[in-house]
């Protein structure tokens, strides 16, 4: 690889590092706490109409 290409790879590597840092920051800020929340507010207000239960199954 010539020098110009090596420089380009280094710069792209920095772009990747910055992106990973930003993604980590976004995860830390928005996602981390979500694990605990289960739709508590929604659960309280439910009154189920027969036949209109929307059962949300697990899908892997």
């Amino acid at each position: 690889m010539n020098r110009a290409d090596q420089r380009l790879v280094k710069r792209l590597a920095w772009v990747l590092v910055i992106k990973l840092v930003l993604l980590y920051g976004l995860w830390w800020g928005f996602v981390r706490d979500q694990r605990v929340t289960v739709d508590a507010a929604g659960m309280a207000a439910q009154a189920l109409v027969p036949g209109f239960e929307t059962v949300k199954g697990e899908n892997k």
Binding site: G51, F52, V55, N59, K60
Partner: protein
């Protein structure tokens, strides 16, 4: 315009045509990808192999994309239920396909053996993985998969990805992969010469044998698999209402259509004879005829599965009456009509300019060509 019932049957046939078209056209370049690491042993040989499909693979892949779009337009409930139900299978197909556009276009742009080797394996993944998964998916459709609808027609799929990998479905995956490899090998035999052609022929003949054995085995197995049968009276021209029918499961139900219409046996026969003829013709170097025979085998195999299941498209193992059929998972009369005319208008055009593209690029791809066009060829 046609009546609603006729349009529903037409669309079942058209989706079949699109699936067959996909398997014949994109199937042959996926078969080439599957064979790539084995028939091409040097960088130059691999470039020859890649350049046989280089100009065509992208147009061929559109059969897949349009197939998906057509299922969305004609059978929206199938599109919704199948694609979300088979979530991880769909993602694996998608991610495998990612390797193709970049593999083809980027591989030879840098002259580094590691770079090129990585993309070669990427092209292998992109060619090998999707047909296996499609076969596995079909194998599961033949057994039914667990999903149900609520009164709003919200679908819930209760199976897991691992449940899809059951023995019968894996056998169907083998059929599919072998069929695609035969298709690719036949094409490769026609577009290459010398040692590459010889290897392609060997690989294709091997694939044909595997395919026929697996296909026959699957057919025999199918007799004891619990198929599906509608027991309530269906109004074929009625508004689609998937919850408004009763369905039973019984062993051998998938053979019922063949019993009623013996002419359908042509399809599995075509599957077997097409593959065997292709192998025979390849051994004698009648490569174009072999490709045609292999394509007929594709028609036979896919047609067999479709004819077995008609009118079912996606049976539900957990709530059989929720199964999706040709009668009750369709779009409106108006949409089916418009889409029919759009397809009739554009399909012939597509065939014409695709044929022109193949004609322009016809002939054997040689090592000399690749060396002469080092900067331009793939």
């Amino acid at each position: 315009m046609f009546d609603y019932e006729t349009l529903k049957i037409i669309w079942w046939l058209l989706v079949g045509v699109l699936l067959v078209g996909f398997a014949i056209m994109d199937g042959h370049d996926m078969g080439v990808g599957t064979l790539l690491p084995f028939v091409g042993r040097s960088d130059l040989e691999r470039r020859v192999v890649i350049n046989t499909v280089g100009p065509h693979w992208d147009g061929n892949q559109v059969w897949f994309i349009t197939g998906g779009g057509a299922i969305f337009a004609a059978w929206p409930l199938v599109y919704a239920t199948a694609f979300s139900g088979f979530y991880w299978a769909m993602l694996l197909v998608l991610w495998a396909l990612f390797f193709r556009p970049v593999g083809f276009d980027y591989r030879s742009k840098i002259n580094n053996s590691t770079w090129r080797s990585v993309w070669d394996w990427g092209l292998f993944i992109g060619g090998f993985v999707p047909p296996v998964i499609f076969g596995v998916a079909f194998g599961n459709l033949l057994q039914g998969v667990p999903f149900q609808f609520d009164a709003y027609l919200v679908s819930t799929y209760t199976g897991s990805f691992w449940q899809l990998l059951n023995p019968f479905a894996l056998l169907a995956g083998v059929v599919s992969s072998a069929m695609i490899t035969l298709q690719g090998g036949s094409y490769l035999a026609h577009r290459t010469e010398g040692v590459i052609q010889a290897r392609a022929i060997k690989g294709a003949i091997g694939a044909a044998v595997v395919m026929v054995l697996a296909f026959v085995a699957a057919g025999l197995w199918l007799q004891s698999i619990e198929g599906y049968r509608i027991t309530s009276v269906i109004n074929p021209s009625g508004l689609p209402d998937p919850l408004n029918k009763t369905v039973v499961r019984e062993a051998g139900a998938w053979m019922a259509n063949y019993g009623r219409q013996p002419l359908l046996w042509v399809l599995p026969a075509l599957g077997v004879l097409g593959a065997l003829s292709a192998a025979f013709l390849l051994a004698r170097r009648y490569t174009l005829s072999a490709f045609a025979a292999s394509s007929l085998a594709v028609v036979g195999v896919i047609g067999t599965a479709g004819a077995s299941m008609f009118p079912f498209v996606m049976p539900s193992s957990s709530m059989p009456s929720s199964s999706l059929t040709v009668w009750d998972s369709v779009s409106s009369h108006m949409t089916l009509g418009i889409m029919f005319w759009a397809t009739m208008l554009f399909m012939p055009l597509i065939v014409i300019y695709t044929a022109w593209a193949y004609r322009v690029m016809r002939g054997k791809v040689t090592a000399a060509y690749v060396q002469e066009h080092d900067h331009a060829a793939y």
